[in-house]
Amino acid sequence: MKAKVYVTLKPSVLDPQGSAIQHVLESMGYANVKDVRQGKYFEIALDDESNGTPHADLERIAREVLANPVIADARVEIEEDTTQGEARQ
């Protein structure tokens, strides 16, 4: 099983790095870029054989470690393994 976790700053939190990127884009001539918000992206691979509650674990990992809930939100996307049965190299 694979999971993708997107961590994005809450709208109320200033993102000076995003603003700097936006200013550079503006100076490059991209006048239509009004706002840039920077975030973090994680790919997590889980062992399918193990027991437990992977969905709940991932939500906790995202909330308690990957994102600081004071300043950021986390979104978890889970990809069930569709390649099961294929030969593993």
């Binding site: 109320s12 200033l14 000076p16 790095q17 470690v65 600081n68 004071v70 300043i71």
Partner: protein, 234 residues
């Protein structure tokens, strides 16, 4: 009275803190490795500055989940004194021992400078020997010192007198122009509600000897030792 200075991989102000406590304040002190789980022999713990775990993920984030931080949480819950300096402040926020978070400086620069902070209250074990509105000249060295919190938290901090240091000019005016990093309301240091955990971005341990340009950090350590001595005498 016994102090512990925690060392994480990447701590780099641990020896400064150790030096100040052992040589300047003259109290017994141990280094405490980040895998330690028993802090029962200590009266005060210093979480020093540096770049714990290389600031990976977020400054202080990985250190906040280390074994010693579980012990520090128990230690603080039992009333033990915890002082977090710079990266130590970031770790205490990440660990939930202090409210809010420290994010990238507003100007995106790593700022290494001497600044002024105003003591907002002497009603903490860390500022007992200082006067409210006293101005301290202290060094800062950080890239993520911009304190943020939501308005409810800020109102709580104000209501409970938990804002302990504010950036100010040499005359003690907490003017926005004297705020080096964009911190909410010029906040440079806060304590928890129980007032036994303090975090601040400036480095008092680098300002305890005139030879280093300022000895204004000294009263912070001496306040703590006075408080501990008064407790022991009781």
């Amino acid at each position: 009275m016994k102090f512990g200075v925690v060392i994480f991989p990447g701590s780099n102000c641990d020896h400064d803190a150790y030096h100040v406590i052992s040589k300047h304040v003259g109290q017994p002190v141990d280094f405490v490795w980040h895998r330690e789980t028993d802090l029962s022999s200590y009266d005060a713990i210093v979480i020093p500055g540096g770049f714990s775990y290389g600031d990976y993920l977020r400054a202080g984030a990985l250190a906040s989940h280390s074994p010693v931080m579980r012990a520090v949480k128990d230690f603080a819950a039992r009333g033990g004194y915890v002082l977090g300096i710079c990266n130590g402040f970031q770790i205490l926020c990440e660990a939930g021992l202090l409210p809010g978070a420290l994010v990238r400086n507003e100007n995106l620069h790593f700022i290494c400078d001497h600044i002024h902070v105003r003591v907002e209250t002497s009603q903490t074990p860390f500022t007992a020997n200082l006067a409210a509105r006293q101005v301290l000249h202290l060094p800062i060295a950080h890239a993520e010192g911009n304190y943020v919190c939501d308005e409810a938290t800020f109102n709580q901090l104000t209501h409970d007198d938990q804002i302990i240091f504010r950036y100010c000019d040499a005359d003690g005016n907490a003017d926005p122009s004297a705020n080096p990093n964009g911190s909410h309301n010029s906040i440079a240091g806060i304590c928890n509600r129980a007032r036994n955990v303090l975090g601040l971005m400036p480095h008092p341990e680098r300002a305890c000897e005139d030879l280093l340009g300022s000895s204004d950090g000294s009263p912070i350590f001496r306040s703590l030792t006075s408080t501990l001595a008064a407790q022991a005498a009781r």
